[in-house]
Amino acid sequence: MYAYDEIDRTLVNERVLEFRDQVQRRLSGELTEDEFKMLRLQNGVYLQLHAYMFRVAIPYGTLASNQLRALAHVARKYDRGYGHFTTRQNIQFNWIKLSDLPDALADLAEVGIHAMQTSGNNMRNVTSDQWAGVAPGEIEDPRIWSELIRQHTTLHPEFSFLPRKFKIAITASDHDRAAIKVHDIGLKLIKNEKGETGFEVLVGGGLGRTPFIGKTIKHFVHGRDLLSYIEAILRVYNQYGRRDNIYKARIKILVHELGIEKFSREVEEEWQHIRNSSLQIDDEVIEDIRSRFIYPAYEKLPHMPDELRQAAADPDFEAWRKNSVAPHKVQGYSIVTISLKPIGAPPGDATAEQMDALADLADKYSFGEIRVGHEQNLALPHVAKRDLPALWKALDKLGLATPNVNLITDIIACPGLDYCSLANARSIPIAQELTRRFANHELANLIGRLHINISGCINACGHHHVGHIGILGVEKNGEEVYQITIGGRADENAALGNLIGPGVKFDEVADVVEDIVEAYLALRERPDELFMDTVKRLGVEPFKERVYATR
């Protein structure tokens, strides 16, 4: 993980003081609510249905155990004892008081955590692969570059008042766990023929009311030019992105309206002016950032320790291991995903007690490091295989060993109408009902990998367009109606789902999903043909026929 130095710490503390002043001016009436709104939004504070909501950044999904404890502390002291992990490597607290916010921020600043630009029309938290630095086959650790971008985008003097929010994601693996194709800028770390590090740059991806898959704007941008190239994209967007209509203000609309060729020419022209400026990064700078990432001192361990062999006799352990444990780049170690999707509970929530206990487990078993993924699960990135059985027992006691990672009950959902002032429909109760319908592990396992994504409004925070099964709640004549799509995906083969038929009522959603799954089980060619592949092979029609035949 990245260790803040005095320079980073100073900036975070200065930001806390500034925010304290802003809150004070609001409380004293010196700032109107409208003026304050823009200021609080620069710092992750939304006014929701019942209270202020506070969103804290977990840059590129990497957390140290003391940072997780600080999040637990905020949940306990200033909120209602829990937090909610989001689809963009943030955590949200839903019940915080305005007057407490500066203190909560100050407490987080002590461990190098902040809420800068977790909302507002600026460059948001930079996200990355939650397995960065440990995934086998990864080209190099993308977090070095993520950190470089994090710093560069923090309180940027030119791009803090963009037409709309701006999200950057970065991956260095062939299998994309960071959903880079649905980001404003997606970066895929690659090497050129000389072995130098650079990036394939994608632009204009995004979900929301007008979803687009990102397009490649440049096949190779050398690492030394990364900041100037991003700056060129942002400068074109800042000047020409639409500001007359909030729904057309994202860069994806600009790219779409200009066309990728014209847009890339504009960027190229701007880039030629600035690429040889002080934005150019030399190797020493990269090495300096790299030197402040702390990597574990791995032991030389056997591939198959006795502890693991013995535990294999326990079917419950095996069920968990099969879907929660992934290969690590170092022999004898594993990456362990921790499901925050227990049956019947809201996806992505963790209590303060769970966070504290998990921090302890990270210290004991994962070199004090925790990761947060966009699927709203956590991970311990460096677990020795011999420790897996003990870790599993400990997680199980905490309610954190639900063996459903990547299965149908591993649902991504936004907070929906239970919390959010933008929502038109409930999301969490739909997710809860679905997890109950598919609670049987054998059934879920038989179905195999299947991602359900639920959004409670067109803004698509639950990424419904890219769910294998996507559920979008809308409001129609005062009623919640849900539109269901199939065939979406967020990985390297990102695609938008297709509507399967007319919208259905709240009470019918789980039935329809069950019917879709039943259709899949009947239609698949072999037990190992995944839902996605069956949909790809057959299209929407056969599903539509089966699901809507009796409706």
Binding site: D5, I7, D8, T10, L11, E14, L17, E18, Q22, E30, E35, M38, L39, N121, Q151, H152, T154, L155, H156, P157, E158, F159, S160, F161, L162, R235, N238, Q239, R243, H273, S277, S278, L279, I281, E284, V285, D288
Partner: protein
Amino acid sequence: MPLVNGGKIADDGFVKLAVDTPLPEGGDILVPAERFIGEADALLKRAGKVGVIWPNNRDISELVPYLGKLAVVALVFPTFRDGRAYSQARLLRERYTYRGELRATGQVLRDQFVFMLRAGFDSFEVKKQADAEAFMQTAKRYSVFYQPTGDGRITALHRRMQLRHSEGVGT
């Protein structure tokens, strides 16, 4: 609306002209963009300094032929949240090397001062008296900057390099 110039609340010596206001004989004037472009030669010939108020949706490079003769370029923030003029400011300072007064107008609050200073603004028509009075204190709020801009402040990356090298000398 108080003007902050050179870090202090100052009198505004410029009179703002509308598109159709008769041209005063002498004195310093601030002219809307279209009038300036239309009458540039006449305006620049008269006694008194000339500045231009440039909207945030018009290409700033149109001003390049006149930059050496302009005393003020006033850029506009129609609302706090509309940040186009930050790009215009940086282009003026960093690409077109404009050295005259660069003024921020519109909805200017203390919370933008640091961004504006970094983008190259050096004068500010501030909406609220209290914000104008807090200018110096607010401008010093930050001591760490991650991005290089034309203001010449040392960035965090470069400061780290300096620290590294100075440590290297001693050891």
